[in-house]
């Protein structure tokens, strides 16, 4: 019996028996914790915090159906069945033997179906049926320089650029939504948090839940880019590159872009070339400023473009701006501001860092 009276939040968090109770995996007859929490009301806060922590740090599951697991197990049993049947019959009798014959048949049938479509993503169907009415022809590859609009059957829209192909996984929409892209495309993904949308290209994997973004991965081009318009996406390197370089993933927010440098297998986070306004500024109409304090201007730009701008507020608090910055792209706006206050900026890790000596 453990001395639970002395446990702190983290002790409970680490305690398997407690975790099982919180996650509901204990048998219903086990009323230990129910009783214990009733007997120790002064521990209520600690218990609640430990519970919250356990739920927050539950590992996200990769769903596999019990049916699939059963089928796979039967396939293994079938594959090892051919030799040494006798000890099995001896032990288990005819009942199980008969059952096994039936299962064996099913397993072989399912096994043959499964193992034909083995390994490698390249077996993913070029299933033109999934491309919807806009694309009745079964040729997803289209060398002619034209843009193609495709609606996937989950409602996601894909604008396929010239010389690009899109293939849809056989099991698209079952537990995940996976597509394989060569070339470039803009995705407008229908929101479905249960089924992550994964775009595989030769070099990177982009994972989203519902958002709009663009990918360019042409074989003949130097680098690969993924840029985000709305929402958030995660970019990983694809497994085909040497494993040593498979370390990180990058999370992108609007107007950020991931660049995959083919030469050294690096993923870098930066900003898109021309950040677009996410929403119109509210406080100052149309970026028109008269003697406005610079920090306020920067914060407004930050909000309008959804891009983090790092600056020293203390240093810039005496700097003012009188300007009309309505139509310039973000980077031009920044250049203008920097010229006015003798500062400079650079893009580091998808953020803008502004350095200045301040104003008198």
């Amino acid at each position: 019996m453990k001395n639970y009276e002395r446990y702190q939040v983290e002790d409970f968090f680490q305690d398997l028996y407690f975790r099982q109770w919180v996650q509901g995996t204990l048998p219903a007859s086990d009323e230990f914790w129910k009783k214990w929490t009733r007997d120790n009301p002064e521990k209520h806060d600690i218990i609640e915090q430990a519970k919250a922590l356990i739920l927050a740090f539950r590992v996200e599951d990769f769903p596999t159906s019990p049916h699939e697991v059963g089928t796979s197990i039967q396939a293994i049993l079938a594959a090892t069945q051919s030799e040494r049947i006798i000890p099995f019959y001896k032990r288990s009798g005819f009942r199980i033997a008969a059952m096994l014959v039936i299962l064996l048949g099913i397993a072989f049938w399912l096994g043959n179906r499964n193992f034909n479509s083995k390994k490698e993503y390249s077996t993913a169907h070029l299933n033109s049926g999934l491309f919807g009415p806009q694309n009745p022809s079964p040729t997803p590859a289209h060398p002619e320089s034209q843009i193609q609009h495709i609606t996937l059957h989950d409602g996601s829209k894909v604008t396929l650029k010239a010389n690009s192909t899109l293939r849809v996984a056989e099991n698209f929409g079952e537990s995940t939504r996976e597509v394989y892209l060569t070339g470039a495309a803009v995705f407008d993904v229908a929101k479905d948090p249960q089924k992550p949308f994964l775009v595989y290209t030769e070099n990177v994997v982009t994972r989203v839940l519902g958002t709009s973004f663009e990918i360019r991965d042409y074989q003949q081009e130097g680098d690969v880019s993924v840029s985000v318009r709305t929402g958030k996406v995660t970019v990983y390197k694809n497994k085909q590159v040497p494993q040593k370089a498979l370390s990180e993933n990058i999370i992108l927010t609007p107007n950020q872009q991931a660049i995959y440098v083919k030469a050294d297998h690096q993923l870098i986070k930066t900003l898109v070339e021309k950040p677009v306004k996410l929403h119109e500024p509210t406080k100052f109409r149309n970026f028109t400023y008269t003697e406005a304090p610079i920090p306020q201007v920067l914060v407004e730009l930050e909000e309008a473009y959804g891009v983090k701008i790092i600056f020293d507020e203390e240093q810039l608090k005496h700097c003012n701006l009188t300007a009309k910055l309505t139509n310039e792209p973000l980077f031009e706006k920044l250049t203008l501001i920097c010229e006015t206050i003798q500062a400079s900026y650079e893009v580091i890790d998808g953020q803008i860092v502004l350095t200045s000596r301040g104003c008198p």
Binding site: D15, L53, R58, V59, E60, I76, K239, P242
Partner: protein, 210 residues
């Protein structure tokens, strides 16, 4: 909780701490060619190994094929196999080596010895998905997010084995082929990143997980 070595052991009435001598016996039966033991082995370990493998590679067919081949090979070579007392770590190690070997098979240019320690391992926590999918402005949640991003793959793997696969430190050490103290340290460092923020998790939890 300043001393990482003093995490409490499991209570005795826990329902999963029953593998004391059973693994040894089950393995002996399996090596002797007992089909029921083999079935039991598959029932006990197939699903959790599949889950482990999918975190190393997203290609489900590939992972399943490796796992299939692993068990078929184990059966065919059962008479030459060693005695094993803890099956899960044994199987995890065998499976991981096979996955790494198979996935590097086509990459003839890679040297044999640089394969083992750096493999991909994907583990995401509920709170993390929440933070990714929702705009968080609260400063401490932003900090928590930053801390989560600092967790290494190995720390995530340890946390995964501990809390998802519900393995003990000793078994985790065997599974990762590192020593016991390294596991405790990985875990401790991982938890340290999160510890300062635990109270904030409450805030988020109220909105998202209940």
């Amino acid at each position: 909780m300043s001393r990482p070595q003093h995490y409490p052991p499991y209570p005795n009435h826990s329902s999963v701490s029953d593998d004391g001598g059973n693994d040894t016996v089950l393995w002996q039966c399996f090596r002797a060619g007992d089909r029921l033991a083999f079935e039991r082995l598959l029932e006990m370990h197939y699903a959790s190994l599949l889950n482990y493998g999918l975190r190393m590679s997203r290609d489900q067919e590939f992972v399943k094929d490796c796992l299939h081949d692993l068990f078929v090979d184990l059966w065919n070579k059962r008479e030459q196999l060693q005695e094993v007392h803890a099956l899960k770590p044994y199987l995890v190690v065998a499976f991981r080596r096979r996955l790494i070997k198979e996935s590097s098979r086509n990459q003839w240019f890679r040297k044999a010895d640089e394969v083992t320690d750096d493999y991909d391992f994907e583990v995401q926590f509920n709170i993390e998905s929440y933070l990714i999918n929702n705009e968080v402005r609260h400063e401490s949640l932003v900090r928590l997010k930053a801390n989560l991003e600092k967790l290494t793959k190995r720390q995530r793997e340890v946390i995964y084995l501990r809390f998802y696969q519900e393995m003990e430190y000793e078994a985790i050490a065997q599974s990762l082929e590192i020593n016991y103290h390294s596991v405790v340290n990985l875990m401790y460092e991982g938890m340290k990143l999160l510890r300062k923020n635990w109270f904030l998790v409450l805030v988020a939890t109220c909105n998202l997980l209940s």
